[in-house]
Amino acid sequence: MEKVLLLTHTEQDGTLGSAALETLHAAQALHGELTIGIIGASTHSAADQVAAAGANRILTIEAEAFAQSRYATDAAAIEALCRASGAELILAPHTSRFARAVPGVAARLSGRVDTHATSVSIVDGVPEVSRWFYRQRMEGVLTRTQRPWFVLVEPGSYPAFSGAAGQSTIQRIQMPDIPTRTTVTGIRAPEADEQTIRPDAKLLFVAGAGWTKKQPDGAPHTQEAEQLILGMLRASKASLGGSKSLVDLSGEGQAVLKCMTHLNQVGQTGSTPRHQKGLATCCHGEEPHVVGWRFVTERRAVNLDPNCGWARGKADVLYVADAFAVMREVNRLLG
């Protein structure tokens, strides 16, 4: 039986986020000797949140320095938790904070690290990790002999732990001052008029480069396209994705959608979001873009070309139609 450590960090409000609770579910399923480690400015609420998780120990590191996501302080805290736990298998949510800090700690402890894991299991007494390679084009199942083995679990891969909150007994680890030359000064939202990326949304709405092309009257209608897209997002609370060809237009001096940045890009060189449904519009469904749809379960597309990529087994339904006309109606109905 492996000694398992679940590493977590608190969110701004002092609680554990959904990715941490999902990773706790994954850690419980390993039936090992479980320790939970929590890092944050204040860890009490988070510890109480996992009181019913059946952990042998809850270790915490708390100080104002850990309110911020920063490599030097996070790596020192993670290292201390790992050493205190003596764990061989260390699971953590694949958040931007842990994606930055955990690999370096694995190197410090002469361990190994795997990220974007979609499954962790014990098979014949040996831990196995599933993850994707070549940008979600193929799935590998791997094992390692080195310990500690750090595994960052991709959000959305497990249901969240939902045990009742209670009063936890915690063991606090004291940390010395950690030298760092970095200060976190703030958070900046994208330079768009409104937030368009909503990781928790049920629907992904993807706009392709076709929205900026010439329409039947011979002129592009970029302003109307932007209004239709933003109208759809407001009415449906969807998250906005874009194809590379569309987000690249801004670098080529062409007519662009102001609401679309590289952060919205889905695919080979963009994100691989997890949404239950995805609706693609004016997008050809080329393979480098569609690999970013790997974890979108239900897929529909609107495109004028009946032979586009979506028609070749990449969408459940392809509507051969003018996206401008369809989305005007969709927005009216959702209105």
Partner: protein, 266 residues
């Protein structure tokens, strides 16, 4: 005025994104050496950002340190070398997505430590925040640890050098936002996302200058085998996700909208 930077960009090659990939025993990619390759996209952004920073900071220098099969690297360099000035340093080894990031990082760290004239106090270690092959986003941090650099940033979209030489860095975080950090200066590790610069046009003069150094570097490249010690792949498979696409051609925009709205509300 900022001191000159010594910028090391770690980058390798990946199969062209438009190629169909098929895994074979090993694991490896079928006919990998026959497939057209490109410089890893996010690492490519890092190289452009490095060149831009070096151009704006007189006395700075850019090294492109690549671990990959040298014959394939040579082909890719024919294009990449025309973009921006750099000095190529090659370790002749695998660029497969199935190699272990720990061993890759060790090999790259050894190569960087051996760079002649590298000022480690003014080192900025650049690379892509993830590769398009392994996609683990772990190699740079491990190299950073090996080189003793504990100021590290991942998913960087913008680096601004302020008048006092400090660095303002924007990193991607969840929900389409950026975290803003101030770092007092180098040394630092920056794993780049897309950045904010367009890909430069080809410049044959830059290409000729780069290739004068690149060809000897390719010839000097040391064999760097990676053994994947302790790592076993139980399986590597392509997902069977071919869908039965229903193609709807004969509905009006109104009818399609009704179907979509009903589906969205399900």
């Amino acid at each position: 005025m900022s001191k000159p930077f010594h910028i090391v960009v770690c980058a390798s090659i990946v199969p062209d994104p438009l190629q169909t990939l098929e895994p074979v025993a090993g694991p490896a990619i079928k006919n990998e050496l026959m497939l057209p390759a490109v410089l890893d996209p996010w690492a490519s952004h890092a190289l452009v950002e490095a060149a831009n920073l070096a151009q704006k900071t007189p006395g700075s220098k850019v090294w492109l340190v690549a671990l990959g099969p040298k014959a394939k690297l040579q082909q890719v360099m024919m294009t990449v070398a025309q973009k921006v000035p750099f000095e190529l340093v090659v370790a002749d080894g695998p660029s497969s997505g199935f190699t272990d990031s720990f061993e890759t990082a060790e090999a790259l760290a050894r190569t960087i430590e051996a760079l002649g004239g590298l000022d480690r106090a003014n080192l900025l270690l650049f690379g892509g925040w993830e590769s398009a092959s392994r996609g683990s986003g772990t190699t740079l941090q491990i190299i950073g640890e090996r080189l003793g650099i504990t100021e590290q940033f991942l998913g960087v979209d913008r680096l601004t050098v302020l008048a006092d030489g400090s660095l303002e860095i924007l990193e991607r975080i969840a929900g389409g936002k950026h975290q803003i950090s101030m770092c007092s200066g180098p040394p630092a590790v920056l794993g780049w996302a897309t950045g904010h610069l367009p890909v430069p046009a080809n410049n044959p003069q830059v290409g000729m200058a780069n290739m004068r150094l690149a060809m000897p570097a390719l010839q000097r490249a040391k064999a760097t085998p990676l053994r994947n010690e302790g790592l076993t792949f139980q399986s590597v498979t392509i997902p069977k996700q071919q869908r039965e696409t229903k193609i709807v051609k004969d509905l009006s925009a109104e009818q399609i909208a009704q179907e979509i709205v009903a589906w969205v509300k399900e």
